[in-house]
């Protein structure tokens, strides 16, 4: 009684429980489903070709999985599953065969809803269907349906259309490790894993080279237009989903604009192109985080080093770089995660490059039954690798302590004339690369497109058709985006507060962990998990706006929590205690004391969530369903289809970017606050 009263008296405890349950449902349960399905597979299947004019059965060897079939000399097939003898198949006459059970049970049968037959002998079941091929215009009127004509004891006689293919399958799920074994032994899948790592390492390295160098130069030298450069990089950090990658192909592909102009025999399509394009996708992240940590260094340490005789090079490598490491590592970590999970770039910039996110999408969407088991196995491996990367990052940061007392005075020098020109030139080139997709999309939105090719005719027609037929998508994106951001705002604030100030035993730590999990889960995988748990009663959410909102909310929650968290660490709890001692209730002391102090962090966290949500694509394309069709889905559809015009997709992208740059301008560029987001403490 006493306990319950206490619980209800503290709204934070109630909130903690609600948040905990919600996160568990959305994160843990959906991932458990994926985990389970990665350990499951169908019992097996095989296909048999029959003869038009004879009784013989001919096994298609390649199609056998989960079963073993041996042919005996008299044309019978002996069917075994894991050493257990199950049936013999015996062709008797054209269009007629006997199936005899060998497991000691008698056979029963029933028709299934596909026009096939299910036979069962004790615990063993076999689904049988037939596939008849006739010429293009042949009348297929005199078909023999698949049916059981005689059944007694252990024997049944099956009648089918002579010459048809008979598909046998055991659809009962069984638990197995074989999905992982197959995944890790088949060269196609292993190559996908290898490719993912190559792409991740090289694009992060390229981005780090440009990002860290440029950030250092801007942090150390007083350059005119620094804020303009920061503005442009921040703008570049939001990339136009999907179309951004295609812009590179339009310019540098086999018959791209630049390729043709220069008469080159080259194409960006391929692994090298994927690495290059992703490098520029993640460059802004590395640059912004590194710039912040270089500017916040204690410059007196540098001066000490120099006055003790250290050369500038020595000082850079032994003093400045190590001190800036936390920021750099964070930047690199985020860059690695982004390049590891990026779905759009490899999909667009390569013809046949298999990387994990594309593989998962394709396995799930594959036409024959969609191989859920393999998609799930790939997902589990991806989560595993992401966790490894995170652990490495945490391990590295935990071993070092970087506390220093910051001096307020910025340590910048005036660059010499030549150096200034050099920096400006480098900046111009780098910014051009980082901003190229945005510019291309902007330009292409204002020209007429014809069968997927840009003409030189200026038009506003793309925007006209956007407003005429796709305006509802704008509404859907804004509605789901704002709702999810609002949820991120509320829960991010609450969870961060519980983690930093309340520190309930066990639960607070568990919350902290749970919040970070979605950051590890690729969008495709999260979408898959949501479909698996929300596609059946009691919670039937597929196809509603709710499922989109929940997916957005949970995917981008880490941004919100972490930014509020870092703001909260700067608020001394004595302030709230003072309010409490004066008689204020917890809610009041929070809203009147703490909240106003951390509003900056809250807004920047919410903005970041909002930006990420609005451009989310990988979970969206699995989860959306009309009429709830967000802008990113429209862009995806109008980019992927070979016959579609890019005009609409470009116009839609421009509008989306405009919607994003407005809040970005007010929050980030005006106050430069969003940089404070650090995915650090777990």
């Amino acid at each position: 009684m006493n306990f319950r009263w206490k619980l209800l008296n503290d709204p934070w405890k109630i909130f903690t429980i609600i948040a905990f349950l919600l996160l568990t449902l959305l994160v843990v349960v959906s991932q458990i489903w994926i985990g389970v399905s990665s350990f499951q597979r169908d019992g097996g299947s095989f296909t048999v070709r029959t003869e038009k004019g004879g009784p013989r059965l001919l096994l298609e060897e390649e199609t056998v999985s989960g079963f073993t079939l041996d042919s005996s000399c008299d044309g019978k097939y002996l069917v075994r599953q894991k050493k257990r003898m199950l049936y013999t198949l015996n062709g008797k006459a054209p269009g007629k065969m006997d199936i005899t059970s060998l497991n000691g049970e008698s056979i029963s049968f029933m028709p299934d809803d596909d026009g096939g037959v299910v036979i069962s002998a004790g615990p063993d079941q076999l689904w049988i269907s037939q596939k008849i091929f006739s010429g293009l215009f042949e009348k297929s009127s005199s078909q023999q349906d698949l049916e059981v004509v005689n059944a007694e004891g252990k024997n049944i006689t099956l009648q089918y259309n002579a010459g048809a293919f008979l598909l046998f399958s055991d659809r009962n799920k069984l638990f197995t490790l074989s999905n992982y074994l197959t995944f890790l032994s088949r060269s196609r899948y292993v190559t996908a894993i290898k490719n993912s790592f190559i792409v991740m390492v090289f694009s992060t390295a390229i981005a780090a080279f440009f990002g860290i160098s440029l950030a250092y130069l801007y942090a150390r030298f007083k350059m005119p237009g620094t804020s303009l450069v920061l503005t442009i990089v921040t703008m570049a950090s939001i990339s136009p989903p999907f179309l951004g990658a295609y812009a590179w192909r339009m310019l540098l592909g086999g018959s791209g604009l630049i390729t043709r102009f220069l008469g080159l025999n080259w194409t960006i399509v391929g692994m090298h192109g994927v690495i290059w394009v992703i490098s520029w996708l993640v460059f802004p992240i590395v640059f912004l985080l590194t710039y912040d940590s270089f500017t916040s260094l204690d410059h007196s340490l540098r001066e000490c080093s120099m006055s003790l005789g250290g050369t500038p090079r020595r000082t850079f490598f032994f003093i400045e770089l190590p001190l800036a490491m936390p920021g750099i590592i964070n930047g690199l970590y985020m860059a690695m995660m982004t390049s590891f999970t990026d779905f759009g770039t490899p999909y667009v910039i390569s013809l046949d490059l298999n990387v994990l996110p594309v593989l998962i999408y394709k396995e799930y969407m594959s036409e024959v039954g969609g191989n859920l088991s393999f998609a799930s196995t790939g997902s589990m491996l991806m989560i595993f690798f992401s966790s490894l990367i995170l652990t490495a990052q945490r391990f590295y940061l935990a071993r070092r302590s970087y506390a220093s007392i910051k001096s307020k005075q910025p340590s910048v020098r005036m660059p010499g004339r030549i150096r200034k020109i050099g920096i400006n030139a480098a900046t111009a080139v780098i910014l051009l690369f980082a901003f190229l997709p945005h510019l291309t999309v902007l330009i292409s939105a204002f020209f007429e497109w014809n069968v997927g090719v840009m003409t030189s005719r200026f038009t506003l027609g793309n925007f006209a058709s956007l407003f005429h037929s796709n305006l509802s998508s704008v509404g859907v994106t804004l509605f789901t985006g704002i709702t999810a951001t609002f949820m991120d705002f509320v829960f991010g604030l609450g969870i961060a507060y519980v983690i930093v100030k309340k520190r309930y035993p066990v639960v607070a730590n568990a919350l902290n962990l749970l919040v970070m999990v979605p950051y590890l889960i690729p969008g495709t995988v999260l979408g898959l998990g949501f479909i698996l748990i929300f596609n059946q009663p009691p919670i039937l959410l597929t196809g509603t706006w709710v499922i989109l909102v929940l997916a957005y909310f949970i995917r981008k929650l880490p941004y919100s929590v972490k930014s509020v968290e870092s703001a909260l660490y700067q608020v001394h709890s004595a302030l709230e205690e003072a309010a409490k001692s004066l008689g204020a209730k917890p809610a009041r002391s929070f809203f009147q004391i703490t909240f106003p102090l951390i509003i900056g962090g809250i807004i920047s966290g919410a903005t970041l969530s909002f930006l990420q949500i609005m451009t989310e694509i990988s979970a969206t394309i699995i989860l959306y369903r009309p009429p709830w069709k967000p802008m990113t889905a429209v862009i995806f559809e109008n980019t992927i289809d070979a016959g579609a015009d890019f005009g609409l997709a470009s116009a839609m992208t421009v509008l989306l970017m405009a919607l994003l740059y407005i809040p970005l301008y007010f929050v980030t560029i005006k106050a430069r606050k969003a940089k404070e987001v650090r995915i650090e403490s777990i």
Binding site: S366, E367, T483, P596
Partner: protein
């Protein structure tokens, strides 16, 4: 601040209530009179807007109260979606994809005897799919990458070593319906050994759109194409040329079907009747260069008559083609 938050919450809830309420009202009204031509219908289609729009625009003119919602994606993606949603289907009609795919997923579709079925060159005995168009996949070459003299004249010569090093794009039959039609059709003419040597020259793309675009953009010299899109690209002056090989051209029949337990079966049937109508097929021939599957509509004049072509259809089920292809595409 509090006021702003409160205001936002109120706004959001109101918006949600309006959306939800609006939807429910609509549903209720339609259930009473399912034949009345108003409401919203959802069509899943692997066809791009360049194919669906000309026909659906006429439908919209005829029935202004019917709102059409399209989801377009690859055939495989849409079938996977339908399979995942089968307990709670969102779509009413699936339009596009070859008849083999429809038969493999027969349980997702409802039997409906359209009055137009008798006018078709072929019909499904189970009345689940209804033919729309006959579609060939000729060779497509990029004229920037290949001189006139180097154009392949037969499919057979594509297995020559001169096309080595990924000069040919081929859609993966595991991932694409068009890829299945091409591979199985070629197996029908030359057998699996031919596919195996052809594969040595191919980049296998994870979808047919990627294959089409690879040739259009000049990433590869040769590929295969759906003839309606190829004809359109030729007409617009893109650097591509369709070649109907002397020895073999693969062909499929494209279909449309009613989704089982879809939310608006009445409207779904009406849309299918419309898509199968003579009027719609005339548009298909004139505006999008598709060969109609109706007996009474002549093929487009810019395409060669079927009688002049060596046609090959798929003759093995997807499971068999996929497993064998997987086996040789290491």
């Amino acid at each position: 601040m509090k006021k702003i938050i409160f205001f936002t919450i109120v706004m959001l809830f109101t918006a949600a209530a309006i959306f939800a309420g609006g939807q429910e009202e609509k549903k209720g009204a339609e259930k009473d009179a399912s034949v009345s031509m108003n409401g919203a219908i959802t069509i899943y289609s692997p066809h791009g807007p360049e194919i669906t729009d000309p026909i659906l625009n006429l439908f919209k003119q005829r029935y202004p109260d019917v709102e059409i919602q399209m989801v377009s994606a690859g055939t495989g993606e849409l079938l996977s979606r339908l399979e995942a949603e089968k307990n709670n289907p969102a779509a009413d009609v699936m339009w596009g994809g070859d008849t083999v795919s429809f038969e493999s997923y027969a349980h997702l579709f409802a039997a409906y005897e359209s009055s137009e079925d008798v006018n078709m060159m072929k019909s499904d005995p189970a009345h689940k799919w209804h033919p729309f168009a006959v579609l060939c996949q000729p060779i497509l070459v990029n004229t920037n990458r290949l001189g006139q003299d180097d154009f392949p004249k037969t499919v057979k010569e594509l297995a020559d070593s001169k096309w080595k090093a990924g000069k040919i794009a081929l859609a993966d039959p595991n991932k694409s319906g068009t890829g299945y039609t091409i591979v199985s059709g070629l197996v029908n003419s030359y057998g699996w050994e031919f596919i195996e040597s052809l594969l040595g020259n191919c980049v296998v793309t994870p979808g047919s759109d990627a294959m089409f675009k690879a040739v259009k953009d000049g990433e590869v010299a040769v590929g295969f194409i759906n003839e309606d899109l190829g004809a359109k690209w030729e007409k617009e002056g893109l650097p591509v040329k369709m070649i109907y090989a002397r020895d073999a051209v693969t062909v499929q029949m494209d279909a449309v079907a009613l989704v089982n337990n879809g939310p608006e079966p009445g409207l779904g049937k009406a849309v299918i009747d419309f898509i199968c109508s003579r009027e719609a097929h005339t548009i298909a021939v004139e505006k999008i260069s598709r060969r109609s599957a109706r007996k009474d509509v002549a093929p487009p004049s810019i395409l060669p008559p079927l009688g002049e072509l060596e046609l090959f259809t798929a003759n093995e089920p997807r499971q068999v083609v996929n497993a064998k292809f997987e086996n040789i595409n290491k």
